[in-house]
Every structure is written in structure tokens, then in C-alpha cells.
Amino acid sequence: MIDHGEFSFLLGMEFVKLKVGMVMYQKKYIGELLDKFEMESCNSVSNPS
């Protein structure tokens, strides 16, 4: 088994280490999703409902 060091990308989840803690987010996945459904240039809203 090879040790690839600390993991940062796993199954579409990205992990970053910050001063306060570790954050799990899916920025790349969201980008791809918006691209796929042709919503990449839409205006954003702050409340989804």
C-alpha cells in the first residue's frame, strides 16, 4: 500500500484544513453540476425557498 499523504479529495468531497478546523465541501462537484445543467451564469439567491 502506498501512502499518498493527507487526503484532500475523496468521492467528490474536498477537504481543507484551516486554523479553526477541517472543512468538507463540494465546490468542484457543484461547479460541474451547474455546468452540466447550464446554470453556470445564473444569478445567485441567498435563500433557496
Binding site: 463540494q26 461547479g31 446554470m39 445564473c42 435563500n47
Partner: protein, 226 residues
């Protein structure tokens, strides 16, 4: 196309408890996507466009002497306009970090909000027991009894008193599962006011201010602002 979007959004729910409720709403109409649901779906996509950098935070130093697992369970009552079933949901926080959440339509029709919350409590109990055994496997013992917070006092009293009376006889026996675990001391039920009920945003659409408050409480933060 609609089901593709719903499927993609469902996967996104793994790191975003804040959109969980909306995705569950649009999933109900996968077989027949009307224009109205397309609008809703587009709005979700617009929301995630604006919050691309948001993610779940697991803070350092959260580990304390005793590991605490707190569950919040909630439900709406007759939320679905077509078959009048209620939606139950729960969130579990392990040392103040959200680790497990779910929103699901109940399999039976509840006659009162107390009953709906009682059934929701049962589902949360199942999940709590499972989480407890997982934690045991991970050599990470959780403090007993596990706490479950419900914002309905009558549902709590129903679970605390193992007495069957006329008003609660119709509740199916499998939902009395929670009673059994309260009696043997595995689970403890606590009342929590609706303002502090973290699972609130999983059953209904909430206003922006409340939405942001709940999002913060569920440990969803903007990476760039941390």
C-alpha cells in the same frame, strides 16, 4: 433531466444539510415534473451557485472528556398536501458537530402533531442506537443516556409513561419502540423550545434570518470567511 438534477442534488446533501429539505420536496415529484417544480429546482441551483464555498466544519478542540451525542428530532404535521402524511426529520450532533441528518415522509398518517413527533422520535431513536454501535466500533464511547430533544411536551410524556390510554391506543406498537428505550435508560428525552430546535429547517421552508441561523448551527460555513 429532472431526475438527473434531483439525483445530483441528493449527492450534494451529503455535505449540505441546509438544502436537504428542498431536495426532499422536489424528489416527491420526480415522476411528474411540472413547471412549478422546475422553478423550485432552478432556485436551488441558484442558491448553491451563490454558496459554492460552503461546507461542513469539523472544528479542532471539539473533543472533550466525555463524548456527547445529542439528537434533535422534529416533524411537521400533515405537510404533504396530496396524502396528508407528515414529514419527520432528525439531526445528530456529536460534540457539537452535525454528523447525521435525515428528512423523510412518515409511512403512516398521524392524527395529531403529538403523534407525528412521537413517530419522528422513534426514527431518531433507531438512528441513535445505530450511531451508538458505530461509535463503539470506532472505540469512541458515547456518554449514556443519549439525549434526544423534541419540541413537543406531550410527545415526551407519551414516551415517558408506559401507560396505554384511550387517546394513544391507536398508535402502532412499533412506534412504542422509543418507550422501551426510555424505560431501560438508553435514551433520555428533553424538551427544547422551537427556536433552538435545529431540525426545524428540515420540515419547512423558513425565512432568511432563521435559515441563516439554522445553517450556522448545523456547522455549515463559508470556507473563505473562516
Amino acid at each position: 433531466m429532472f431526475s438527473q438534477i434531483v439525483g445530483s442534488l441528493r449527492y450534494l446533501c451529503n455535505s449540505r444539510p441546509d438544502i436537504c429539505y428542498l431536495v426532499s420536496v422536489i424528489s416527491k415529484f420526480m415522476h411528474d415534473p411540472r413547471k412549478y417544480y422546475w422553478t423550485t429546482t432552478k432556485r436551488i441551483l441558484r442558491y448553491i451557485k451563490g454558496t459554492m464555498n460552503f461546507g461542513l466544519l469539523f472544528p479542532y478542540g471539539a473533543k472533550s472528556e466525555v463524548n456527547e451525542l445529542i439528537g434533535y428530532s422534529n416533524s411537521d404535521w400533515c405537510g404533504d398536501t396530496t396524502d396528508r402524511r407528515s414529514t419527520s426529520d432528525y439531526v445528530f450532533k456529536f460534540n457539537d458537530v452535525a454528523i447525521s441528518w435525515c428528512t423523510k415522509k412518515q409511512p403512516v398518517t398521524a392524527l395529531s402533531s403529538c403523534e407525528a413527533k412521537y413517530i419522528a422520535g422513534t426514527f431518531a431513536t433507531c438512528q441513535a442506537l445505530w450511531l451508538d454501535s458505530v461509535m463503539k466500533e470506532l472505540k469512541c464511547e458515547v456518554m449514556k443516556p443519549l439525549t434526544l430533544k423534541i419540541d413537543n411536551t406531550s410527545a415526551i410524556s407519551l414516551a415517558m409513561n408506559p401507560i396505554s390510554h384511550g387517546r394513544s391506543k391507536h398508535i402502532e406498537t412499533r412506534f412504542n419502540f422509543i418507550r422501551e428505550h426510555v424505560t431501560n435508560g438508553m435514551i433520555e428525552l428533553h424538551y427544547c423550545p422551537t427556536e433552538l430546535q435545529l431540525a426545524d429547517g428540515f420540515t419547512k421552508a423558513v425565512k432568511l434570518k432563521r435559515f441563516e441561523f439554522l445553517r450556522k448551527k448545523l456547522c455549515v460555513f463559508d470556507v473563505q470567511q473562516l
